[in-house]
C-alpha cells in the first residue's frame, strides 16, 4: 500500500497545475460554445472539479489539511448549486418549452 502512494512522489506540482488549468479551460470553452443550458451547467461542474483537484494537490504538497476541508465545502456548495440551478432550468423549460439560452435574451439590451 505504501509503495502505491509513493508512485505520485515523482510528479512535480507544476504538472498538477497544468492539468487543472487544462480542465478549467475546457470548462470555460464549453460554457462559451454550447447553447444547451444543461451542458453549460455541466461545464461549470467541470471547472469546479478542476479547482477541487488543485486544492487537494496543494493540500498534500504543503501537508496542510485545510485545503481538503475547503474541497469538502465546495462539494456541499456544488450540491446546493445543482439543486437550485436545475430547478431554474425546469422552470425555464416550462415557460419557454426550450432550454436554448438564446431564447433568454429579454434582459440583453
Amino acid at each position: 500500500m505504501e509503495s502505491f502512494f509513493n508512485t505520485v512522489k515523482a510528479v512535480p506540482l507544476n504538472h498538477y497545475i497544468l492539468l487543472c488549468s487544462i480542465l478549467f479551460s475546457i470548462g470555460v470553452i464549453g460554457v462559451l460554445i454550447r447553447r444547451n443550458a444543461i451542458v453549460i451547467f455541466m461545464s461549470v461542474e467541470l471547472m469546479l472539479n478542476a479547482v477541487n483537484l488543485l486544492l487537494t494537490a496543494f493540500s498534500v504538497y504543503r501537508g496542510d489539511a485545510s485545503g481538503q476541508v475547503f474541497v469538502f465545502f465546495i462539494m456541499a456548495l456544488a450540491a446546493a448549486e445543482v439543486a437550485v440551478g436545475l430547478a431554474i432550468i425546469v422552470m425555464i423549460y416550462r415557460n419557454t418549452s426550450s432550454i436554448d439560452i438564446n431564447v433568454l435574451n429579454k434582459l440583453k439590451w
Binding site: 512522489k9 506540482l13 488549468s21 451542458v39 483537484l53 498534500v60 450540491a79 436545475l86 430547478a87 425546469v90
Partner: protein, 169 residues
C-alpha cells in the same frame, strides 16, 4: 509516476468529449467518466475521504440529478441548434487565450518540487474530522443552513404555481 500521466490524459480526453458530444445524455455519461478519473487522482494523492465523497456525491447524486432532469424534460435527443461557427471559433480562441496565460505564468514560476506525501494520514477521515469540527465548525454549521435553504428554494422554484384564475402555468 506514469499512472498519473495516463489518468491525466484520460481526464482531459473525457472532458473534451463532454463539451463536444452532440447528445446531452452522452455528455452526462462522459462527465461521469471524467469525475471517475478525478476520483482516481484523489486516491493517488491519498485523499481517501475526498475520493469517497467525490464518488458518492458527484458521481452518484449530482449526475443522477442531471440525468433525471434530462429525462424529465425529454431532452435526450440531439435537438440543440448549433451556435454559429464564428461564435464557436471566438469561444475556442478565448478559452485557449486563458490557457496560454495560465501556462505562461506557470512557466514564469519555474521548476517546482515534486508532490511528496509528508504526512500519510493527512487525507484520512480521522484527521479531516478533527480539523473540520474544531477549526471549521462555524462554516460547517452554516453549510447545513445553505443546504436546507437550497432544498426549500429548489422545491419552491420547481413547483407548479397556481394562477388566480385557477390554471397552472
Amino acid at each position: 509516476m506514469s499512472i498519473f500521466y495516463f489518468i491525466a490524459f484520460l481526464s482531459v480526453l473525457f472532458a473534451l468529449l463532454v463539451i463536444s458530444a452532440k447528445n446531452p445524455v452522452h455528455s452526462v455519461l462522459y462527465l461521469i467518466l471524467t469525475f471517475f478519473t478525478i476520483t482516481i487522482h484523489y486516491i493517488l494523492l491519498n485523499a481517501q475521504f475526498l475520493a469517497i465523497v467525490n464518488f458518492i456525491v458527484y458521481m452518484g447524486a449530482i449526475m443522477v440529478l442531471f440525468l433525471f432532469v434530462l429525462m424529465l424534460l425529454n431532452l435526450n435527443v440531439a435537438t440543440e441548434p448549433a451556435k454559429s461557427n464564428i461564435v464557436k471559433f471566438a469561444g475556442v480562441i478565448g478559452g485557449c487565450c486563458l490557457l496560454a496565460v495560465l501556462v505562461a505564468s506557470l512557466k514564469a514560476l519555474g521548476v517546482s518540487k515534486p508532490v511528496v506525501l509528508t504526512n500519510p494520514g493527512l487525507g484520512l477521515v480521522k484527521n479531516l474530522g478533527k480539523v473540520l469540527f474544531t477549526e471549521f465548525l462555524l462554516p460547517f454549521e452554516i453549510s447545513s443552513i445553505l443546504l436546507l435553504s437550497a432544498m426549500v428554494g429548489a422545491v419552491l422554484l420547481a413547483k407548479k404555481e397556481k394562477q388566480p384564475d385557477g390554471k397552472f402555468f
